[in-house]
């Protein structure tokens, strides 16, 4: 695998005191969807702003496709696309005009631009709305247009800052499909941030858990969840007979608890252990009446590594936390 983004000890300090990004190191490989998961103000957007040449790091370095984001800023800009958190499409232009403007800013030849715009508008399913003013669009439509704009110059690396923030569940699922399609079709490398657990879980090949500007853990969603000690099988078996010994003998089983006909079986890998356990029970004359597989979710993972639940982190937050957020927002405005 080739590292497309390389970040080394990256730091960003606002106003000399607020450490929004505090010594972050990671690599993003070619063709993967890499996600930063963390609460608002954790340093996600600040990191994206540095990688997309909007902010200068206070210390450390970052390269995109081998290009330094500070020294070769303009070269970096040519190979990346950014879909920002805010809706930045122009209300007083039509969808197509927005795309056309973007294509000129990215130096796409006009003939090619027209073809690509057609293709992208189809991809994000805005065919019917393309020639309407953007001010008539819904939030989801704007976001999809924003995504299409970010793709007009076929970037090698796409940065998505909270791609589904403020969207309803249905539209969110549609966005996920678009993003997955992109990766498959164009082998595009995607760096995204999110504070939605499900989003990180279902979209990302690898996740960095970020909090207070630091990466607390970094791995595939499956490994992260597995690191909590595996999955739990809930099995209900007919009859009075005790099957603990039978289940115990199956490979991958860690722990068993029985309550009447119900067994709670902790296993290392639920999807492979389940058929083995069921087969062992059947072979020994047990009649299974129901079975379910529980897996640790990302919230438990987040809690494990950061010491707080992501859902709680969203609501509370210490003083320095909100300061950091305010400073980050201010800094963004100032640009």
């Amino acid at each position: 695998m080739v590292a497309i983004i390389e970040v080394n000890n990256l730091e960003k300090v606002f106003n000399g005191t607020i450490r929004a990004v505090d010594g972050v190191t990671f690599q993003v490989e070619e063709g993967e969807i890499f996600g930063f998961l963390g609460p608002n103000g954790a340093g996600k957007t600040t990191t994206i702003s540095i990688l997309t040449t909007l902010l200068k790091p206070t210390a450390g370095s970052a390269t995109v496709m081998g290009l330094d984001v500070v020294k070769d800023a303009n070269k970096v800009r040519k190979v990346i696309g950014l879909v920002p958190q805010e809706l930045t499409v122009d209300d007083d232009l039509t969808g197509r005009e927005n795309m056309m403007l973007q294509s000129i800013l990215y130096n796409v030849p006009k003939k090619e631009a027209i073809e690509r715009i057609e293709e992208l508008i189809g991809l994000v399913k805005l065919e019917d709305a393309a020639d309407r003013m953007v001010k008539t669009y819904s939030g989801g439509m704007r976001k999809r247009l924003e995504l299409a704009e970010g793709l007009i110059h076929r970037p090698h690396v796409l940065f998505l800052d909270e791609p589904t923030l403020g969207l309803d569940v249905q539209t969110r699922a549609v966005m996920w499909d678009h993003i997955k399609n992109l990766k498959q079709k164009h082998n595009m490398t995607v760096f995204m941030t999110t504070h939605y657990l499900e989003e990180a879980d279902s979209l990302c090949d690898r996740i960095g858990l970020i909090d207070y500007g630091k990466i607390m853990a970094l791995d595939t969603p499956t490994t992260l969840k597995r690191s909590l000690g595996g999955d739990v099988l809930q099995i209900e078996v007919d009859g009075e007979r005790d099957f603990i010994a039978v289940i115990q003998g199956v490979q991958g089983v860690v722990e068993i608890k029985r309550e009447g006909p119900e067994y709670r079986v902790k296993v290392i890998k639920g999807e492979t252990a389940m058929p083995l356990v069921l087969k062992a029970l059947a072979d020994n004359g047990g009649t299974v009446t129901s079975v379910s597989l529980e897996r640790p979710n990302m919230d438990q993972v987040f809690l494990e590594y950061t010491g707080r639940s992501l859902r709680d982190a969203e609501q509370s937050g210490s003083m320095s936390k909100s300061q950091a957020r305010a400073a980050a927002i201010q800094a963004r405005r100032r640009q």
Binding site: I50, T52, T53, L54, L55, K56, V70, A73, N74, R77, K78, I80, L82, P84, Q85, E86, L87, T88, D90, D92, L93, E97, L101, Q102, I104, L105, Y106, N107, A331, R332, R333, R334, Q335
Partner: protein
């Protein structure tokens, strides 16, 4: 650079002409100024009946009546008012994140201020043409005084007039675009605009001859770019025999100012738009 600037200029202008109320204001504003302010100050009446027009002309830059005098001043004042708000769109674009979108794009940083300046100048020149036409049309409306040009007024004068207004617009558009890039929010921008617009308008020969001003005010007003612009404009329109400066001095002064402020806006934008 040219392609990106052009595309962004077109965007600005689309914003302008698609908002009908803005187009309406563009038309109505000069009419209000010319019809109310211009017609109210019928200063010829101060002179005893039978006084030759040349007496009035000698005070008022060669204009035969006050309306004609102020109508030319109004061309410059409208150029100021129009370009003054040209920077507003930058503040909005910053607010809505569009400015960051431009900063992420691989475009020369200078294209950002240049497109605003170009759009401001186009709007300003359209205003100038509208005012000129309205002022001339007033001649044919009973009860109104219209703009009376010199009998020798010709095409060269007309071109000269537009060159002067163009230079003035470029200078002010650059100045206010730079200010808009530097300030963080619209309140500050409004504050700065309000601080500058009235002094710029009144401490100039736009509405009143500087020769009648007290010395301290005259000392300021004679170096106001608006004064240079209207001084040259009156030389072109009325063939004013006694201008404040030679017309080439006016044009040279405006050219140097416009070039300086334009250059400054590009240099400053580069600094303000780069990563911090």
């Amino acid at each position: 650079m040219i392609k990106e600037t052009w595309a962004l200029t077109v965007r600005e202008l689309k914003h302008w002409y698609r908002i009908k109320i803005q187009m309406f204001m563009t038309l109505i504003q000069p009419i209000v100024w010319l019809a109310l302010f211009g017609q109210a100050f019928n200063l010829n009446k101060l002179l005893p009946a039978g006084t030759p027009t040349s007496v009035f002309q000698s005070f008022f830059g060669g204009a035969s009546d006050y309306f004609s005098y102020m109508a030319v001043g109004m061309l410059a004042v409208m150029a100021l008012f129009t370009t003054m708000f040209g920077g507003m769109s930058i503040v909005w674009d910053r607010r809505f994140g569009f400015l960051n979108k431009l900063r992420v794009a691989p475009i020369p940083r200078g294209a950002i201020p240049l497109s605003r300046i170009a759009a401001s100048v186009v709007r300003s020149m359209i205003q100038v043409v509208i005012i000129l036409i309205i002022a001339l049309l007033f001649t044919y409306i009973p009860g109104l005084t219209g703009l009376t040009v010199s009998p020798a007024f010709n095409v060269v004068d007309l071109i000269g007039l537009f060159v002067v207004m163009l230079l003035l617009s470029v200078a002010f558009a650059s100045l206010f675009t730079t200010i808009a890039l530097a300030v963080q929010n619209q309140e500050t921008l409004f504050g700065v605009i309000n601080l500058l617009n009235l002094p710029l308008m009144f401490a100039s020969a736009a509405l009143f001859p500087t020769s009648m001003m007290p010395d301290w005010l005259k000392a300021v007003a004679n170096y106001n770019p608006l004064t240079l612009a209207v001084d040259a404009a009156r030389t072109f329109i009325f063939h004013n025999p006694n201008p404040l400066y030679d017309v080439w001095v006016d044009i040279a002064g405006l050219f140097v100012l416009a070039a300086f402020l334009l250059g400054l806006s590009i240099v400053i934008s580069r600094k303000l738009m780069s990563a911090r």
